[in-house]
Each structure stands twice: as C-alpha cells, then as structure tokens.
C-alpha cells in the first residue's frame, strides 16, 4: 500500500534530515504534485542532503549543477558537437537530462541561463537546434538560493518564481537534532540509500494526487483567498490563476500524504506560506507571510 510505503519513506527521511519533518514532507508533496521545489536557505543546512536523499529513495538519477555567473545555457542543456570519427554532428546531453536536478544557487547565473532552466521546468522539454527533446518523467528540479548573499546575483523575477510549486527553507536544526547530527560518525552513511519507491510507483502516486477530491466548498474557500490577495490592496499584484491551480495541486498532494482522499481547508491553510508567499510582493514592503496569515485569519471557513 502506498500509505505504508510513504510511512517507511518518511521514517527513513527523518533519519537523514533530522528534526525537519515538515520540510521533508513538503518536498515529497512537491515531488508527488509534479512541481518543482525552491529551497531558500543559507548554505550548510542540508539542502543537498535532502535532494540526494529524495533522489535515492525514489530511485531517480540525480545530477547537480552549481550555478555561477559564467554558466551558459549549453552547460545545462548540452550542445551539438562534431564527432570526428563518425563525421557527424551529435547532441551531447547536458546535466538537465536527469530525473532529479539540484540547481544550486540558481540566482548566481545570468537571466539567460536561468530562463533556459525555467523553460525546461515549465515544459518538461528543451529545444535543441529547433528540435524539442523531452526530458525524463519524472523531472524534479530542486533549486536553492541564498537569501542573504545578494552581491553578484540575479534575483529571480516574479514570473519565474511562479514556476516553483513550493518554496521552503530548512533552517537550523533543533539542539537535540544537531547533537545527534554531530555525533554521527560517517557523513557518507547517508548516501547511496536503497530506493524505497520506484519510478512507476512514483508515477502512480502522482496520478493518485490528481484524483484527490476537491469539493465545491474547498474551491469556494480557495477562490475567496485568491480574491483577497487581489483586492485587499496588500500586494502589488494578486495571485495568478496558475498560482491558484498550483496551490490546489499542492494541497491535494498534502491531503494524500495525510492519508485522505479529499482536500480539507486545513490543507489549503497549511500550504499557504509555502505556495503563495514567494509569488507575492507586499505593497508596503512588509512580510508576505504575515499578510497571507492575516488574509487567512479574515476568511471564514466552516
């Protein structure tokens, strides 16, 4: 049963990423909802570990690109080179042809390079010499960016932030977890995990997310919230319909993780900070999380 599989999966994940079960669950929800994950955090809190663990446990190939300002789109997508032996041009696939891609410090690359990745994320395909080449399915991008270090970066524009289904930050582990982490002998122990869920099962789980029921009542509630983001005057622009769809999709995945077959207002509420906030900008430069929380506080649900 998928529920059991997921339970063992989370058990395993919790031994790898210590004391951050919400973040790991959100990451899995994002994967099941066929979305892409944005991790905004300082270095060294386990972003790479999380990405690796997810790839391993789901049995997916993993690749990592460290984004720098001189990274070119071809460095990601690959390029056509002339093979002297066969006297033919042939396309050398870039690192993007993988199921799990960790795009580290995405905001260090130039907009051109960023957009090459973001287009691939959106369409799950890349164009090579005018030809469309499909990317593997599943295709899961985990991008990270450092919110503090701003010099020499190209912050992602809102339109591109919109491509990420969920944004999380891992934060520092709690004291006990950190102690446990420190007392761990081999760092390598975490790597090379046996897959618990294979790719077919993952696809089945994704299909199950789509079949999660969203009642009229929940649609009303969500639409009410979307309306509030647009007309309350709090934000520069409100949430787009696409944002609404993604919010609902994430909530469905979340409901699945909770073992339910329908979305509850709680799912919508819980996912608000992770699906809505990175798409919004406050009018007064304030904290989007606070504003979203206020909107939720003012929206009746029964």
């Amino acid at each position: 049963m998928p529920a059991n599989q997921l339970d063992t999966l989370f058990e395993k994940l919790d031994t790898i990423i210590l004391g951050n079960s919400q973040a790991t669950r959100l990451a899995v929800a994002c994967l099941l909802a066929r979305g892409h994950l944005l991790i905004e955090d300082i270095p060294g809190v386990g972003k790479t570990t999380l990405a690796h663990a997810l790839a391993d446990l789901f049995g997916m190939p993993f690749k990592r690109i460290q984004f720098t300002s001189d990274l070119l789109p071809t460095d990601i997508i690959g390029m056509t080179i002339f093979d002297v032996d066969s006297k033919k041009f042939h396309f050398k696939r870039g690192p993007i042809f993988t199921s799990t891609l960790l795009a580290d410090e995405i905001n260090r690359a130039t907009p051109k390079t960023q957009s090459a990745l973001l287009q691939a994320m959106e369409e799950q395909q890349v164009s090579v010499e005018g030809r469309q080449v499909n990317l593997p399915d599943p295709f899961f991008v985990i991008a990270t960016q450092n919110p503090l270090e701003q010099s020499g970066t190209f912050p992602l524009p809102e339109s591109q932030l919109d491509r990420f289904l969920i944004r999380i930050s891992l934060g520092y582990p709690g004291p006990e977890f950190e102690k446990a982490l420190l007392s761990r002998t081999a760092r390598k122990a975490n790597q090379g995990q046996e897959p618990l869920i294979d790719q077919d099962q993952l696809r089945a789980l994704s299909a199950e997310v789509d079949s999660i029921h969203a009642s009229d009542a929940i649609i009303d509630y969500l639409q009410n919230l979307l309306h509030q983001t647009r007309h309350s005057g709090r934000f520069v622009t409100g949430l787009s319909p696409r944002a609404g769809l993604q919010w609902l999709q994430a909530a469905k995945a979340w409901a699945l993780l909770q073992g339910r077959d329908s979305v509850l207002p709680d799912d919508i509420k819980e996912l608000a900070p992770f699906t809505a906030c990175h798409r919004l900008h406050c009018n007064d430069g304030g904290d989007t999380q606070e504003q979203i929380a206020e909107i939720i506080m003012q929206t009746e649900v029964i």
Binding site: H213, H227, H231, D261, L264, P265, Q298, T299, V301, I302
Partner: protein, 696 residues
C-alpha cells in the same frame, strides 16, 4: 478600508492614472451615429443653415473615422468655430432664446467631435450629447419624446462605458449596464420630481421671438375660408374632463373670441384696452346656483392665444379675466400646456344681466360696412311685416335658410362683391363662417344688436379616458343677438342641411363622411360612422387609448407645476415656507438611504448554509457553554483539536462528529446526513463528567 475588509467588501482598485487607451473604432462609429442623430434631429428646431453646417462638420469627422485618417488641423477647427459664432449671431440675432442656445450647443457637439482625439475629448462629446438630450424637453415633453430621450441617453451612456473599457469583450453588456444605471436613478428622479422645490412661473428662460407659433391658435380675424383650412387640422386644441357626464354635443359651445367689427364680410377681434379693464373691475360678480353649473377641467395644449375657450357661458373663470363680452382673456402666457377649471350654466340661454340690461356700445353692434341689396331689402321687408317681436325676426331668418335648402360645405363656391346677397340667393352653400357672418349682418340691418362668436363646437369623446377631445378641426363660429335685454346664442349653421349633423354629431363625423366621398354625401356613410363595425370600433378604441395615454401624461406629469406641488406639500403637512428646509433635509436623507441601499447590495450575501452546515453549527452551539467558540477562520479540524483538548471526555464524540461533517462537506463520498444529524443530536455535553467516567 478597514471597515470594508471587515464586511468582506472589496472595491475595485482605483486607477492610478487616467486611462489613455485609444478608443475602439467600432465605439467611435457608434458615437458618430449618435452625433448624427443629434445634428439631423435639429432640423425640427433649428435654422436650416445651422443644420446643414452641422452636418458638414459631422460628415468631415465621420469620413476621418471611417477612413482612419488624422484629425483636421487646429486652424481649421478654429475657423469652423468662429464661423459657428457668426452663424448663430446672424441667424438668430443674438444669444437670447432657447433656439439660439441649442443651435450653438449642437454645433459645439459637432465641433468637439471633429477635433476629438483622446478619450477625454470623446467623453466631453458624450456629455454635450446628454445635455442636448435633456434640453429637448424645453420644446417637447410628450410621452413619446420622453421615450426617445431615454433611449438616446441609454445609448450615450453605453458609449461612455465602452469608451472607458478597453476590453471589447465587455462591450456587449454596455447597454444593459447603462439601462441599469438609469433604472437605479429612477427612484431618485421620482423623488426629485415630486419634492424638488419648483420655480413659480416659467423657468426663467425667455422664449425666443422665433418661438411664436401661429399654427396653434384661432385667428383673431374671421375671413371666409379660414376655418375650412383648419377643419383638416387634426391637432388637438384641448381636452376636457367633466364632473359627471358629458353634456350633449349640441350644448358644447366652447366660446373663445367675440368679434364685433365687421368689414366686408370679415370680422375682427377687438383687443381689450385699459377702458375695458376698468369696466371689468366695476362689473358685479356673476352668481349662479351650484346645481345649475356644469363643472369641468380643461388641459390646453401649448397655445399663443390670448383668449381661452370656456363652455358657454362661463361663470367666474379660474384662469384669465372675463371681459364684458364674456370672453376670457389671459395676461400671462404659459410656455407649455396648461390646465384650468371652468364652470358653465346648465341652461344655455340663461338671462345674462349685464350693465343692468343696457348695451353700452349699441351703435357699434348695429354698424355695418355695406348696405343690403334690393333683393335682400325685399326679403327683410317681408320678415318685418310678419314679425311682432324681435325674436320673430330671428326665427324667420332661420326659417328662410332652412326652407331654401342651404347647405353646409367646406368647399363652397366663392363669393363676389356683395357676399350677403350672393350667399342668400345664389350659392346657398358655405360653412359656419358664412352662416354666422351673414346672419349677424342681417340682424344688424334689421336693427337687432348682434355679434359673431368664434370658438369650438363639440369634440370627440374618448371612451377610454372618459374625456372630451377638442381639435382645431372643431373650430366653429356662430352668432349672438341682443334680444329681451340679454345675449342669446343663435347658430345659423345648425339649420342648414348637414350643418345639423355638424352640430349634433360633431365635426369628426362629418369629416369621416366627406372622407368617404366628397361629392356623393349620402346619409348611409354617416350612419356607418355612428354605428361602426367591430373592427372600426377596435381601431377607434386603440386610437383613443393612445390619446388617453398622452392626456394622462400631460395631466399628471407635465401639469405638475408650482401650484400642484404646493397643494401636494400642503396636504402632506409642509405648509410653511421654511419647511422647505425640512423638505430638503428629507430629500437628502432619502438620497442617503438610497445610496445605503445600493451599498448594501454590494455586500456579498451570506452563504446559504446547507443542512450539514446548520447541523454543524448546532454542534458548535452545544460547546458554547464551555466557552468554546469557533473562530470564523478556524477549520473544523482545528476547532476539534481545541475542543478535545478542553473536553477530553468527549474526544471521541467530537472527533466522530467532525469527521462526519468533513466527509459531508469536503469528502469525495458525502456519507449520510442522517447519521451526522443523529450524532449531533446525541451530543449533549454537560459541565459535569458523564456518569461512567466520573471520578466521584
């Protein structure tokens, strides 16, 4: 803003900058049509040159819109503007007067339209068009014109809506929106109509010189041939509503003008002078018994006439001043239609004591410009020999006409140098003017003071509205003779063939007769007219209904003036002058109330709760006594968590109820409502722990 958020009302965000999008070409073409309607309909009012000039300006712009060409250069617009000034000044001789003003407004609309480039310009054109539409009420306020102006206004507002909205997909509903706006304004309009303080008299506009219309009055002179033309004018003159039933047609003599000055078969009204007014002042009021009076109300169409029609004989006319000859003169002319009450004696030949039975101007009433011919003298001699009393002379004259088959005709042969002689002996055919004129001259030759009276006779009864409609075609002339110290009405037309029908059935009957066949006037078609087929009756009824609508509109809406408002306010208890302030306060209050009402409509209606929700609310209500209140934004799960924490004894029940509810409201498979209701029904938490779990 906070308040709005509290009520979950979100107003559309205010635009930070005025919209600057280019208007849609389709919208502009529609606006072109509206401007064209304004310019072309100015034909009805304005000077032809102005209209042609306006059309030229409009056509320039229309062409530039159709071909998407650039706007004309500034200097050209300038030249056009100066030319407009000059044209209005030259054609109307100045700015005074409504026509000059409206003509200029029409040109202004066309000119502004010509030079329009940005959205703002087009808005301004629309505003001028709205102003023009309302200004049309200065000239016509009939029911029909209201409908036309309303349609025009809706169209103009729809154009403004389309201009303001750059997305064409909203344009389809623009007409609906603009109609809704007007409908919403309707209560306010009704309120203002009744209670907005009205100005006494004419609005303060000076009617322009060119406003004097000659067609809407009886002429001040009577020349043979006049009435024959007016007989074909179907325009209504006035409408009368009687208290009680309408008197028979042959008593309906609407007296308007008295003519005593004769010159060659033509008669003229003598306008009252200072002397007349002095006489009037000294005249004792005429009194009559209440039950002898016929009472009625007249709603008169706009008219330039100084003399008002009253039913013969008028007693103490409400409107105007009754002159010594019993005609009624008005000093102040109303610009639009007007209403007044009248009273008449039930007995047409009632003695009329005037100047103690003496005639002040007997010589004038006997003077003639011509002498009777030998034949006429012989005729009169015969009458004199047989007459013992003056009234015998009247009878003999009438008998002569009756016996010699005098004929009533609207197309009589012309009369030569001695019209009386020719009429009496040769043509023997004519209409009321010939009869009244001839008869009056005869009477004067016979030494009986006589005069010609002009007015209306009869009218058409409107069966729908139960009122009498009198048209210009009902105009009539008759005689009055001074016998036995009183004026007596004699209508010589009534003794002629067909003239009798004219009096007893009305002019409309006669016209219908002639319409059928002008030459062969057989009585059959008259019978047909009087006993119409059911189809004809339905048509007439339809016509009556239409006329009645206009009449009721005139009577209740147009006629609601300063005095009517005063009466209404007095009846409502606002008697004093300073209660106007109270009234204004009330007006403002009601406008506020109306705005609140519309605001209330903006507030989203409470979501209609389903049965499951109501049951769930009952469940929440049961927890109230534990000071467990569900926050509006709290989800059922969150609330259940809080509740179980506080009431661990009921954890299972609360969780079960919550689960069932969530399944019903959010679940894929709703589950059983009855089960949920039963669960809630049995959920009766008490402040004390339940028996089996109790510690004590």
């Amino acid at each position: 803003m906070k308040l709005l958020n509290k009520f979950k009302i979100s107003l559309p965000p205010l635009p930070t900058a005025p919209p600057t999008h280019t208007p849609q070409r389709r919208t502009l073409l529609l606006l072109t049509v509206l401007v064209a309607i304004a310019v072309f309909s100015h034909f009805l009012l304005g000077h032809l040159v102005i209209v042609v000039y306006g059309v030229i300006i409009w056509a320039l712009k229309a062409a530039s819109i159709a071909r998407v060409a650039a706007a004309p250069p500034r200097w050209m617009v300038m030249v056009f503007t100066i030319l407009s000034f000059v044209l209005v000044l030259v054609l109307y001789g100045g700015w005074n007067g409504q026509r000059a003003g409206i003509s200029f407004l029409v040109l202004l609309a066309a000119l502004k339209f010509l030079e329009s480039q940005s959205l703002r310009d087009y808005y301004l054109v629309c505003l001028i068009l709205l102003f023009l539409a309302s200004s049309s009420f200065l000239f016509n306020s009939s029911l029909m014109s209201i409908v036309v102006v309303l349609c025009y206004t809706i169209g103009t507002i729809a154009i403004m809506l389309r201009l303001s909205d750059p997305s064409p997909e909203h344009h389809g509903s623009a007409l609906i929106t603009s109609s809704t706006i007007l409908v919403k304004a309707l209560p306010l309009a009704v309120l203002l109509f009744f209670f907005f303080p009205r100005i006494h008299g004419n609005f303060g506009f000076i009617p322009s010189q060119d406003d004097l219309r000659g067609d809407s009055q009886l002429n001040d002179s009577l020349v043979a041939g006049d009435f024959a033309n007016s007989a074909f004018s179907n325009e209504p003159a006035f409408r009368v509503e009687f208290e009680g039933s309408t008197p028979p047609k042959n008593l309906l003599y609407w007296r308007a003008k008295v003519m005593i000055d004769e010159r060659n078969f033509a008669w003229e009204v003598r306008r009252p002078d200072a002397n007349t007014f002095r006489t009037v002042r000294d005249m004792p009021p005429r009194t009559a018994e209440e039950d002898q009076l016929i009472k009625y109300q007249i709603v008169h169409e706009p008219s330039e006439d100084d003399f008002l029609p009253y039913l013969d004989y008028a007693y103490n006319p409400e409107h105007g001043m009754q002159l010594p000859d019993a005609s009624v003169f008005r000093f102040k002319k109303e610009s639009g239609l007007f209403a007044y009450n009248g009273e008449a004696s039930r007995f047409p030949n009632m003695p009329e004591p005037q100047n103690q039975g003496r005639l002040a101007n007997q010589s004038e009433l006997l003077s003639t410009r011509s002498v009777p011919s030998a034949r006429v003298q012989a005729l009169m001699r015969g009458w004199r020999n047989n007459a013992r009393r003056p009234s015998d002379l009247v009878d003999q004259a009438l008998a002569y006409m009756r016996e010699n088959a005098f004929e009533y005709s609207l197309t009589p042969p012309g009369l030569g140098d001695d019209p009386v002689d020719e009429f009496l002996f040769e043509t023997r055919s004519g209409y009321c003017e010939h009869y009244a004129s001839t008869f009056t001259i005869l009477m004067r030759w016979l030494g009986i003071p006589a005069r010609v009276v002009v007015g209306y006779q009869g009218g058409t009864q409107n069966v729908v509205g139960n009122y009498l409609q009198v048209r210009y075609s009902d105009a009539h002339a008759w005689s009055e003779v001074w016998i036995d110290n009183r004026w007596q009405r004699v209508d010589p037309t009534a003794v002629s063939s067909l003239g009798e029908q004219r009096i007893s059935q009305g002019m409309a009957a006669l016209l219908a007769l002639w319409e059928d066949d002008l030459i062969d006037r057989n009585a059959a078609s008259l019978t047909d007219y009087l006993n119409p087929s059911s189809y004809e009756r339905a048509i007439r009824r339809l016509r009556d209904s239409w006329d009645n609508m206009g009449y009721q509109w005139n009577k209740w809406v147009i006629n609601y003036d300063f005095n009517a408002q005063k009466t209404l306010l007095t009846n409502l208890g606002f008697e004093h002058r300073n209660s106007v302030y109270t009234l204004l306060g009330l007006l403002i209050a009601s406008v506020m109330a109306m705005m609140l009402f519309y605001f209330w409509q903006l507030i989203p209606k409470a979501i209609k709760l389903g049965e499951a929700q109501q049951t769930y609310l009952r469940f929440i209500g049961r927890l109230k006594k534990f000071e467990l209140l569900k926050e509006p934004a709290e989800t059922p799960l969150e609330f259940a968590e809080r509740a179980t924490a506080q009431l661990p004894l009921y954890e299972n029940q609360i969780n079960e109820i919550t689960e069932n509810y969530l399944q019903l409201r959010y679940g894929k498979d709703p589950g059983s409502l009855e089960k949920f209701q039963a669960l809630v029904k049995h959920f009766k938490p008490t402040s004390k722990p339940a028996g089996n779990n109790s510690i004590s």
